[in-house]
């Protein structure tokens, strides 16, 4: 792969649940090694988009490829090349830290010769070297999330999808988690991450603002803020950007209807 190859390509993606349009004509591309943020309020369609990209849901129309594989036509190949952390905590509570790692190592088919190395890496990354024998249910939220991330990248997937990995985690642990995401990006992993914490947009290389199934704005955090800069608002935050974008979108929708 060349450094700037696109690892996620979404083209006119639509997902309907009955009459309801959860993902409405979304198109975007994500480059290799990029931290791509998906921002939006609850119900915007972030999780639905990620599930389609992980080949967990079939798109209604449009095309998406991940690591070069079509999610609708080559789901098995897609699953070999991704790591996924779902919005719900997705480890086994009754298993120990070590047993969770061993299980995911097994189902991802991590080769025998690097298994121990990957296991050590996951433990170090999660900061759980001393807690291999600890039951997962006894870990605090932040540690659990880091362990879940460690398990999702045991097989060194080129693309990692993280669905609200920092929700419900205390600010310090959130900060630590974003450090990990940065580390992954430096190691060449593409990270596709959703959040509803606006300030976390600053940690992303690029962000897409999603609202009612549509991407209403896309760019680097710096560019998005610059667009809004004015005399009354010389230093706009991402929060300001998002609010103004939503107001504009709602106005356009109202105008279109009347």
């Amino acid at each position: 792969m060349t450094p700037h190859e696109n690892t996620v390509i979404i083209d006119k993606l639509v997902k309907r649940f009955g009459d309801f349009v959860a993902v409405d004509d979304v198109s975007l591309t994500v480059k290799r090694g990029e931290i791509f943020g998906f921002l939006g309020p609850n119900g915007a369609g972030k999780s639905t988009t990620i599930r389609i990209l992980c080949a967990l849901l079939a798109p209604t129309s449009g095309v998406a490829t991940v690591a070069g594989y079509d999610v609708a036509r080559e789901p098995e190949a897609v699953k070999l090349h991704i790591g996924y952390m779902s919005q719900k905590f997705s480890l086994y509570d009754d298993l120990t830290v070590g047993e969770n790692i061993e299980f995911f190592s097994g189902i991802y088919g991590v080769p025998r010769d690097i298994r121990d190395e990957r296991r050590a890496y996951a433990l170090r990354m999660a900061g759980l070297e001393e807690k291999e024998q600890t039951k997962t249910s006894l870990l605090a939220g932040g540690w659990k999330q880091r362990l879940a991330l460690g398990c999702a990248i045991l097989h060194q997937p080129p693309v990692v999808f993280l669905d609200e990995p920092t929700s419900g985690v205390d600010p310090l642990a959130r900060r630590a988690f974003w450090d990990l995401i940065n580390e992954l990006s430096h190691a060449g992993h593409t990270v596709f991450v959703t959040t509803h914490y606006m300030e976390e947009a600053e940690y992303c290389h690029r962000v897409a603002l999603m609202y009612r199934g549509r991407v209403i704005s896309l760019g680097t955090p710096h560019d998005l803020r610059k667009q809004l800069r004015s005399d009354t608002l010389p230093e706009p935050t991402m929060e300001d950007v998002f609010v103004s974008m939503i107001e504009r979108e709602d106005a356009a929708l109202a105008g279109g209807k009347s």
Partner: protein, 378 residues
């Protein structure tokens, strides 16, 4: 193209779940034996010592001789002799006696003359099962006695060395002590294993859906067949342990003879568990809800296994519709196999048909299970 590594990882993880949930584990290991003992006693309908009153209107040597057979039989307990119908009818109505045997006047005389002699039996038919068994006993005893008499008469009248008329004695095959526990326990083992297997597995996939781990699993390269096989093998170990303990309990606690080979029994149980456990997993995959899957598992295993397997009710005497339905109840074949192995000591040369049908059932359910697992999230 099933990956052994992924299947093994799945199996190991599932087995850890089983070990960690110690309450369910104890239950799973203890319940079958407890059920066997409880049901085994409740259902052992050994009909003997039937309380009976005797009404001898004849009082001839012959009538006394015949009634003496009833007094000596372990199948009947003679409560006393009566002089009229009234106390007999009262005893049956009040439940103190199950039957009244009435020997008519001229019984001895008519017999001596070689005539056909009726004997009357009054029976409490409210428990029709026991009543028909009692009727059978009484009929066999009277017939035996009358034939013996007739032979003596013919010899005495110079008919010479004629052979006795057809010997009416009923020889009970395979269960010669006529102990119903011998008949009940093998079938009961089959029924209990059916319930156990589908209950154990009914939670296994629904739990992953409820905890959100299923979504994670579906995003990994693990295949539906690997997921199903991995889970099955973990529960299979538990099921095999249960099979061993319940068979041992049947043999040593109830004293039921195991006449056939343990290997044949093991193979039959293995195929059966595979099907029954796939059934539980399938319900789990369809409902994605632990409570629903568990209740469906209980209903769909308990009722057919109990009513339509030929374990309690003989299949041959069922009306056409339920009899037809028994063909799709896997427990029917397993009950037949268990009875065959336990009581008749037969091997696969006679049981292969049932074995194949069980295998077919297991395969069909397993295929549906993997189809269900392959479906997308929504």
């Amino acid at each position: 193209m099933i990956s052994f590594r992924r299947t093994r990882a799945m199996a190991r993880k599932e087995f850890l779940h089983i070990l960690r949930d110690s309450r369910s584990l104890y239950l799973a290991l203890m319940l079958p034996v407890v059920q066997l003992i409880l049901f085994g006693y409740a259902l052992s309908l050994d009909v003997d010592r039937i309380p009976i009153l005797l009404f001898d209107q004849d009082r001839s040597p012959q009538s006394r001789e015949m009634l003496a057979q009833f007094r000596g039989s372990r199948f009947f307990t003679v409560l006393g002799d009566i002089e009229s119908y009234q106390p007999g009818e009262y005893a049956i109505t009040s439940g103190t006696a199950m039957a009244v045997l009435v020997v008519p006047r001229r019984f001895g005389e008519d017999l001596a003359a070689g005539k056909q002699v009726p004997v009357q039996l009054l029976l409490d038919g409210s428990d029709s099962n026991t009543a028909s068994i009692a009727l059978g006993y009484a009929r066999a005893m009277v017939a035996g006695y009358s034939n013996q008499l007739r032979t003596e008469y013919q010899i005495r009248n110079g008919a010479g060395e004629i052979k006795p008329p057809v010997d009416p004695q009923i020889r009970v095959m395979f269960n010669s002590e006529l102990k119903s526990k011998n008949y009940i326990v093998p079938g009961l083992i089959a029924v209990i294993l059916m319930i156990l297997a589908s209950m154990l597995t009914s939670l296994a996939i629904a739990r992953e859906w409820e905890n959100g781990t299923m979504e994670e699993l579906l995003s990994t390269p693990v295949r539906a067949s690997e997921l199903a096989l991995g889970k099955l093998s973990a529960y299979f170990i538990l099921g095999a342990l249960d099979t061993v303990t319940i068979v041992l309990a049947g043999v040593y606690f109830f004293g039921v003879p195991l006449r056939g080979s343990a290997l044949v029994l093991g193979i039959s149980a293995g195929i059966f568990l595979f099907g029954a456990m796939s059934w539980g997993l399938m319900l789990s995959a369809i409902t994605r809800n632990q409570l629903q899957a568990n209740q469906l598992g209980l209903l769909s295993s308990f009722l057919p296994a109990f009513l339509l397997s030929g374990f309690v009710y003989a299949i041959d005497s069922m009306p056409a519709l339920p009899r037809f339905m028994t063909y799709i109840v896997p427990a029917r074949y397993f009950v037949a196999m268990m009875k065959g192995v336990f009581l008749k000591g037969v091997g696969m040369e006679l049981l292969w048909g049932e074995g194949l049908l069980l295998l077919l059932y297991a395969t069909v359910v397993f295929v549906i299970l993997t189809r269900k697992l392959r479906q997308k999230i929504a």
